[in-house]
């Protein structure tokens, strides 16, 4: 089917484009973004997007989909639906599934389920070590061949420095990005709350910034030695931003991301012991939060992720320290991003770039863009729509969000995946 999306404000950082124009698509691909139709183009359908924004489909580098292993908390079918309702059309899922995605079989299962759902791209990330044990290297070439777009240890960083060095050196020849989350387990010492005034008052076990920064400093040294293309996930500390900035200045092939909730929340939100604020890494100080926002603003932080972790109700209905960490974040990624723009923390182009062009570039995929001949994945956003997040209306199986009751301005009206509408607000 051939469609024209007319008169929308097209915001595509990959082309430095921000103008009111038309988008032409045919057979699942973008034919053109232009005021005039390409020669010979006749549309089967016209969609009027006057007053609306057209953004490339968002690319989320970190979202758990529940499958395999935790289908009760989420499934590829349910979570991809939730994703497209938030404008996300490409999802990278970490390997901490059950079983762990350390084999072609699991990678292929994920892809098969995603094809069945046919709602969004699901891009598996393979495990760096077998079973995420931090000791034995996975068959990473086979994982890459099967379709893994990156390798990571999810939330189980390799503690053994020699194993990490070997993993980075071995994979540096395979041209596959390595996602590293930095945490020194000994320094963390079971801590669940940022070391600061709140943990001091509440007696919550302390998770010091050094647990992240010391590990990051080590990892940067090993990345430099190996020459591997490394992407650092889920930064939470001001000092981490400085370390990455230095590394980039010295020309290291590094990029990094931050979870969107870290840009809105801080340790102060733990004061009521509400388990919905239990995340890993923990919510840190206001100073850290500001440094992270500044990091996105000045380009040191390349990407913003949802860090979507759908959880069963019972795993959050526990005292803070016994509850599982994580936020169901697919449906609030764009909304929270726009809030940062409205607050004056980010400009719109930088915000959109951090969830489209940059993540796509890091994983080497042709998504997150509206350039000619790219997959026609995009969303139409009503920038004036005012809405309140209600958990009962969430499409994700995981209702574990601390943002329930928050009011947002700007809402996805319609999402297209490979040229087909996969979400329309009114019809849901």
């Amino acid at each position: 089917m051939r469609r024209i999306i007319k008169n929308g404000r097209v915001i595509d950082p990959s082309q430095n484009l921000d103008k009111t124009t038309n988008v032409y698509l045919s057979r699942g691909r973008i034919v053109a973004v232009a005021d005039e139709a390409p020669d010979g183009f006749t549309a089967d359908q016209e969609i009027d997007a006057t007053g609306k924004w057209i953004l490339p489909g968002l690319v989320d580098l970190q979202a758990r989909l529940g499958e395999p292993g935790s289908q009760y908390a989420g499934s590829i079918a349910s979570e991809t639906k939730a994703a497209v309702s938030g404008g996300i059309t490409s999802i990278c899922c970490p390997p901490d599934t059950s079983p762990v995605n350390d084999s072609q079989a699991v990678t292929e299962l994920l892809q098969r389920r995603a094809r069945q759902a046919a709602t969004a791209f699901v891009m598996p990330i393979g495990a760096i070590t077998q079973g995420l044990d931090g000791e034995r290297l996975s068959n990473s070439f086979s994982l890459k061949e099967a379709g893994c777009i990156a390798l990571s240890q999810a939330d189980k960083p390799i503690q053994n420095s020699l194993t990490l060095k070997n993993a980075l050196e071995y994979n540096s020849t395979l041209d596959i990005p390595i996602f590293l989350r930095c945490e020194d387990k000994q320094l963390r010492n079971g801590g669940i709350a940022h070391s600061g005034p709140v943990s001091s008052r509440l007696g919550l076990p302390e998770n010091p910034p050094a647990a992240e920064t010391a590990a990051l400093a080590r990892d940067l040294v090993l990345v430099e030695e190996s020459g591997v293309k490394a992407h650092f996930s889920q930064l939470s500390c001001a000092r981490s931003v400085e370390l990455i900035a230095d590394a980039k200045k010295r020309g290291l092939p590094v990029t990094c991301d931050v979870a969107i909730h870290q840009l809105h929340l801080s340790e102060m939100d733990l004061l009521s012991f509400n388990s919905l604020f239990n995340v890993s890494p923990p919510l840190r100080s206001m100073n850290d939060k500001q440094a992270l926002i500044q990091g996105v603003r000045n380009g040191v932080i390349d990407v913003i992720v949802s860090d979507h972790t759908p959880l069963e109700r019972d795993t959050k209905l526990l005292p803070f320290g016994e509850s599982a960490p994580g936020i169901s974040g697919l449906e609030t990624l764009l909304a929270l991003l726009l809030k940062l723009v409205q607050n004056g923390d980010l400009d719109l182009m930088t915000a959109v770039r951090s969830v489209t062009q940059m993540p796509a570039q890091i994983i080497g995929c042709q998504t997150g863009s509206l350039v000619e001949n790219s997959s026609a994945d995009f969303c139409i956003v009503d920038p004036e729509a005012i809405w309140t997040l209600e958990t009962k209306q969430m499409l994700s199986k995981g209702k574990n969000t601390p943002f329930a009751g928050w009011e947002f301005v700007g809402q996805v009206e319609e999402t297209f995946f490979q040229g087909r509408p996969v979400y329309r607000r009114d019809s849901n």
Partner: protein, 351 residues
């Protein structure tokens, strides 16, 4: 820190009186004074031959201890029995979730057995807050120690002991020595002393046993025992857990005693009439020298005795507040009915 703790308000009822007893943070001086004054009235039953009073007759109290405790549990049980409550104590030392039943299901099942009050000890900070948010409106929760967060009845019995000896908390300088980082008792003591406007609260110990931001709790930090003890009115020693040595927070008991142990010489730096306290059980020769523990300035055993009176006081206040609130609501309903009748009479409306 400017932000208020969101939790404590949940422990007050509509009349601003204690409904649960979870933490001292957020309470006012009059809440604490009421507890201390009420505890005075229970000192006699503690020392009398007939120790029971019928205040909680017919009420059912369940002690849920998710982590081991002897002293606290025993004093709670004694306090409950002296108030004539029906008492059940359950050891739930492994998490209910590990047995397959959710923690809340466990709580709701016990609640269905018509409990009026839960006394809860749990290894997670905030556990008592969590339980109080999920019990039925008529059920009360008392925190008998949650993680590293709070142990409010212990702190109140410490305040009671101090008041017994010093008359008032106001204008006192109090030094707390030892493991501040891991101690829920210390957090509650600091809050109690702040609310009762002690002149100065000092914490003394190595950096490894201090939280990241102790000043946020309103204390002065000392890493030198001699400096910290100078001219204080009260010295509170804190128990040092054995695992602090194995986790490399301090090199040895011997070294800890050398730096922070309370000896007669060091105690001499405090005011001559300073009292020495310890929540127990004490480690002689680690935190405190036997000569001091058994010496004339030690009030350690009194603390244990007063613990029963203080716990009786808190429980009786909570139950009395509940009765008062019910009476208040009844009166409001009656007044509303009277107002309606009066309105009907005035307007000529009939039912």
């Amino acid at each position: 820190m400017s932000a208020k703790l969101a939790g404590p308000n949940i422990q007050l009822n509509e009349l601003g009186k204690l409904k649960h007893f979870l933490t001292l943070e957020g309470l006012k001086a009059h809440h604490l004074t009421e507890i201390l004054d009420t505890a005075e009235s229970f000192i006699n039953p503690v020392t009398n031959e007939i120790k029971k009073v019928p205040i909680l007759r017919g009420k059912s109290i369940m002690n849920l201890f998710f982590e081991p405790s002897t002293r606290t549990r025993t004093t709670f049980e004694i306090a409950e029995k002296r108030l004539s409550a029906d008492v059940e104590s359950l050891d739930i030392q492994t998490s209910a979730t590990k047995k397959g039943e959710s923690l809340l299901d466990t709580l709701w099942n016990l609640q269905a057995m018509q409990a009026d009050m839960f006394v809860i000890r749990h290894s997670e900070s905030g556990a008592a807050h969590f339980f109080s948010q999920h019990v039925a409106p008529h059920v009360h929760v008392m925190n008998a120690g949650d993680g590293q967060h709070a142990h409010p009845t212990q702190a109140m019995l410490d305040m009671f002991t101090i008041r017994k000896h010093k008359g008032d908390i106001f204008d006192l300088t109090v030094a707390i020595v030892g493991d501040v980082l891991h101690s829920r008792v210390v957090r509650s003591q600091i809050q109690a002393l702040s609310i009762l406007e002690a002149r100065e609260i000092r914490v003394i110990g190595p950096k490894t046993l201090m939280p990241e931001s102790p000043e946020a709790m309103g204390v002065h930090v000392y890493h030198n025992m001699e400096e910290g003890l100078k001219d204080v009115d009260v010295v509170i020693m804190v128990r040092l857990q054995n695992e602090r040595m194995t986790s490399a927070l301090i090199p040895s008991e011997k070294e800890f005693f050398k730096l922070y142990g309370l000896t007669e010489e060091r105690l001499a730096l405090a005011k001559p009439d300073a009292i020495v306290m310890h929540p127990g059980p004490i480690n002689r020769g680690v935190e405190i020298d036997s000569a001091v523990a058994d010496g004339p300035q030690s009030v350690i055993l009194e603390q244990v005795t007063y613990g029963i009176a203080v716990r009786m006081a808190v429980m009786s206040i909570i139950m009395s507040n509940a009765a008062q609130l019910a009476q208040h609501k009844l009166e409001q309903e009656q007044q509303a009915s009277l107002d309606l009748i009066e309105y009907n009479v005035q307007t000529g409306d009939t039912l």
